[in-house]
Structure formats: structure tokens, C-alpha cells
Assembly symmetry: C2
Homo-oligomer: 305 residues x 2
């Protein structure tokens, strides 16, 4: 329960936004508080809306490769849409640009954005350009998902097994600017299995798993020796708290999990790793360490405020 | 033709974006280059998407009233959607916040946004909050319009009369932070008349009328003595170039215009003023001055770069 008492300012802010902006529109399925808003669409579909802002010297350095920033700005939203089980359709991009760097923007940012759009099959259909002292890139993305394939983060069930789609930690060294959103993986999952809950790992497993169990009103038990660490990871704390992994975190019943594991046994395309199981609400998030001690995983990780 | 040769950097940028991001998706009706993207929806409707970014010390001063900034951030997008003949439905907002001013944001910005949402009947369903050195507010808005009511800026016809929905100039003194998007006016127009083209005036009549005629491949002749000036206007140049008026600029056939004028003759709700007519492409935008001289209206106004 420790994490429930911890005050993470960003989350307090989002909670207040959710309260102030509460809507009575019956077509809104998921509103503020999740990474993606979900709205009733026609023909058995939901519409998915998300936005993600990248700010110079917060999310990237001033002299970072512009092409990669453009790619990342789009990829972050693709990852959000994928984690709902959906596909990205349209993107709009607002850019705040230091006047001296307008030309570099044209060559760099746009090429990276286009690369991402091509790779994941969506169209960039609008934008707004503004003067700004430092570079700000904000991407809005609209996607869609068949109603039966929508997965939320708030629907994990006690007894579910917990999976991640790849190795964690050390992303800020290289990977964070050039990661591959797990769109094919997520679509494979929602089309073939009953996925109970899913989200993408943007702020680190430690914080994001706490988010998932908090919104599902459950707990979680994970195993240190099961958590896959990337080659850039500096140890278990790195894998738990570095953030920007952009892997999928999902849960499903054990019977479904065995079906999944047997189907991907010989797959070179997909890798899904079981790291623990969903437990009762009052357990919070706990980890069995390699020395068999039990450790509470507090709600921390990358914080904006 | 002077304005066609003028290089306005922002427009060059948008042209390049339109080229780089060109989409083959047959569902996209209007893409980059307009204020609003238009996509095929179901049930006889189009979906409208727009985004508008406000940046501290470009669009507002550091110590401006936060409630008003929140209102304006939303109202700018409402104005865009209205100018397409549509209604706003959902908004998402990304905010870059200086950490020291987070609490003022909560009290101010959100209240202003909520006021706008309530006034114009849309829901705020998502957002992203980030650390930033100066305040940046980017609003994405999704709206919809019945297919028969969609109006573009690119479809003005030679012979159309040109109207505005209110007085122009001097907006930066007071009005720009507290303007009323012309949503009921636009809906009244598209429901009752055949409006050939429409846009909202954000960068000043001089620049925006040039945009309208350029995208419609026509010209325009306006009359100085017909242009309604607000009480804060400092003269005709103020009315032409100040920007941030957020009035509607629209054109319709003269027969429709007479119908419109007779319908609103005794109206206290609506005010539409005829300021000129659409002419041939090669005329550019020209104005008959009060002393009967003819003046070319060049493509200038507020520029971001």
C-alpha cells in the first residue's frame, strides 16, 4: 500500500484534470487518466485519441538528431494506440520552433515523422507551426480498434499472469530515440488471445505496473530473475525505473498464457516474457528478489514534476 | 499578383509539409495546408481534426491571466471547426509547464478550458503534462459536420459576395484572450444558405483573404468604407493586419447574400457585413480606398517566422 500513499505530483495533476473535466457524454468510454481516450465509433469500432508532447532538454538534448526526434514524437503515440489493441490512422503535429532552426526542422523532423508514418501505415494530415524559444513537438494521433479487441489497463484480474514484450532498462543510452512500437505484437495478441489488461511501458516497469494494478484495483507479484534486462541495463533498478522502454505490459489468464507461449515457442518475430502474476489489491506491487527476499516496489520512476 | 510572389516563410513551411506528408488514403478529404483536416466519417458525416499551439511570450505574456489563456487555447480550435461549418466534440490538451507554476495552472488554465467546453458543448477527454521552461499549451480538437454542410476555404467562386461576421482590428488590446468563436453564426449560415467558402480570421483580413483567394484560385475586391472597424482599431491598417479577430470570413452568391441580409435585418443575434466581391484570379486582392484609389493588399500580417 506504500505506493498508494505516495504523492506523485504528475498523477495528482492528472487526477485533478480528470475531476475538473469530467464529461457526461455517453459516447466517451475512457477519458482523462489513461494514455488514450476511447470514444464510441460506428460499425463496431472505437475511436482512439492520444497526444504526446516532447520538449527540448526534457525529452531530448538540444543537439540531438532531428530525424530521430521526429520519429520518436510519432512513435510514442503509435505505442499508446498499440497498447489499446488498436491501429494508428491519422496524426496531426504542432511544432514550436526556434526561428534559427526552421530549416533543420524541415530536413530532419519531417523525415523522421514520415519514416514512422510509412512504417506503421498512418497519415499525417495536419499541423501547426509556431515560434518558440526552444523546440517543442506535440503529436496528436487518432486510431481505431474493433470493439472486441479494445484492451484497457484497468481490467487486470487476480490470478492473471503478467508479461512484457521485450527487455527493459538503459533505454536512454540509445534505444529511446529509435525504438520500435510494439504494434504488430499488440495486434497479434488482441486478435488471438483474451488479453485482460495492457499498457505500454513509458515510465519504467516499477511505476507503470503500479499504475496498472492501481487502476485495476489489484496487486502484483513479480520475480527479479524473470525480468528481462537489455544489454544497456545497469541492473535490476535500471530495468525497473529507467523508463522509455516502450515495451508492452499485459496480463492474461494462465490458460490463455500457456496457449500464447506454445504458439510463439518457435517464433522469431515475437518474444513475450512472463514476469509474475496479478494478486490481491492489498498486496501492492512486490518483487521476489534473487536472494528470495520480498521487496515492495514503490511508485517511482521518471517524474515530470 | 504581388502576394503570390511574396515569400512568407510559414506558408513555405506548410507547403513543404503538405508535400512531404502527402497521403494516398482515400478517406482524407482535406489534409495539411488548411486549418482543419477533413476525413470521411460514417452516417453522412465528416470528421474534423485541428490543433493549435499557444506559446508563452509569442501568443501571450508571461503574467497573463491563466484562466483566459486556457479559454483562448480551446476557443481558437472551436473557431477553426466552426469555420468549416462543423461542431466541436472532443478536445485533448498537451501542456508544457514550468514546474514552479503547476498550481497556478490547475486553478487557472483548467477553469478557462472548462468554461469554453461548457459554452460550446464539447468534452475534454485527454491530455499530456510535461515539464518545460516556458508555458506551452497545445489543444487538439475533433469535431464533425454533416457532409452537406462542410465549407472549405478553397471553393470561393467569381462573383461571390464577401462577408465578415463582425468588426476587425485592435484585438490584441483586449479581445484576443476573450473572444467568442462564431459557432452559432457559422451553423446558422451553413444550415440556411449555400455558403461557397469560409475561414476564420486569425492572421488579419489582409493575409487571410489572400489565403482564401489563393486556395480558391480567384481574386477579390474589397471596399475600405465597408470594412467594419472595432472600437480598438487604430485605422484601416489595424483592421487589415492586426490579426486575432476570430471573425468568420465567407463568400456566397449574391442571390444567397440578399436572402441572408433580409433574414437578419432585424436580428439582434447575428451581424454579417458585406465587404466586397470575388473577382478573377489575376486581380489578386485589391481594395477601393475612401478616396477612390485602388490599392493592392499584399500578403502580410502576423508572421511566425
Amino acid at each position: 500500500m506504500v505506493m498508494l500513499r505516495k504523492k506523485v505530483k504528475e498523477l495528482v495533476l492528472i487526477d485533478r484534470m480528470a475531476k475538473v473535466f469530467k464529461t457526461a457524454d455517453p459516447l466517451v468510454v475512457v477519458s482523462i487518466g489513461d494514455d488514450v481516450a476511447v470514444v464510441q465509433g460506428d460499425q463496431g469500432k472505437y475511436l482512439l485519441y492520444t497526444c504526446d508532447m516532447l520538449v527540448e532538454s526534457v525529452h531530448f538534448k538540444k543537439n540531438e538528431n532531428f530525424e530521430k526526434i521526429g520519429y520518436k514524437a510519432m512513435a510514442v503515440s503509435v505505442s499508446d494506440i498499440a497498447a489499446k489493441g488498436g491501429i494508428p490512422r491519422y496524426a496531426l503535429v504542432s511544432v514550436g520552433l526556434p526561428p534559427k532552426r526552421v530549416d533543420r526542422f524541415i530536413r530532419g523532423l519531417m523525415m523522421g515523422m514520415k519514416r514512422c508514418a510509412k512504417k506503421f501505415g498512418f497519415s499525417i494530415i495536419g499541423g501547426d507551426t509556431n515560434r518558440s524559444r526552444h523546440l517543442v513537438v506535440d503529436v496528436f494521433m487518432a486510431g481505431e480498434v474493433e470493439k472486441k479487441n479494445l484492451v484497457l489497463r484497468s481490467t487486470a484480474q487476480v490470478g492473471d499472469l503478467i508479461f512484457v514484450s521485450g527487455s527493459l532498462g538503459g533505454s536512454l543510452k540509445h534505444k529511446h530515440l529509435d525504438f520500435t512500437p510494439r504494434l504488430p505484437e499488440a495486434r497479434f495478441l488482441v486478435k488471438n488471445f483474451k488479453i485482460n489488461s495492457m499498457m505500454d511501458l513509458s515510465d519504467g516497469l516499477g511505476m507503470d505496473l503500479n499504475r496498472l494494478v492501481r487502476s485495476s484495483r489489484v496487486g502484483a507479484l513479480i520475480f527479479e530473475n524473470k525480468i528481462p534486462q537489455s544489454s544497456d541495463s545497469l541492473g535490476i533498478n535500471s530495468a525497473l525505473y529507467d523508463g522509455e522502454d516502450f515495451e508492452l505490459l499485459f496480463t492474461l489468464k494462465s490458460r490463455e498464457a500457456f496457449k500464447l507461449l506454445s504458439q510463439i515457442k518457435n517464433s522469431k518475430e515475437f518474444k513475450f516474457i512472463c514476469i509474475g502474476r496479478i494478486t490481491d489489491l492489498f498486496d501492492g506491487v512486490r518483487m521476489i528478489k534473487n536472494d528470495c527476499r520480498m521487496l515492495e516496489i514503490p511508485w517511482r520512476g521518471f517524474r515530470h514534476f
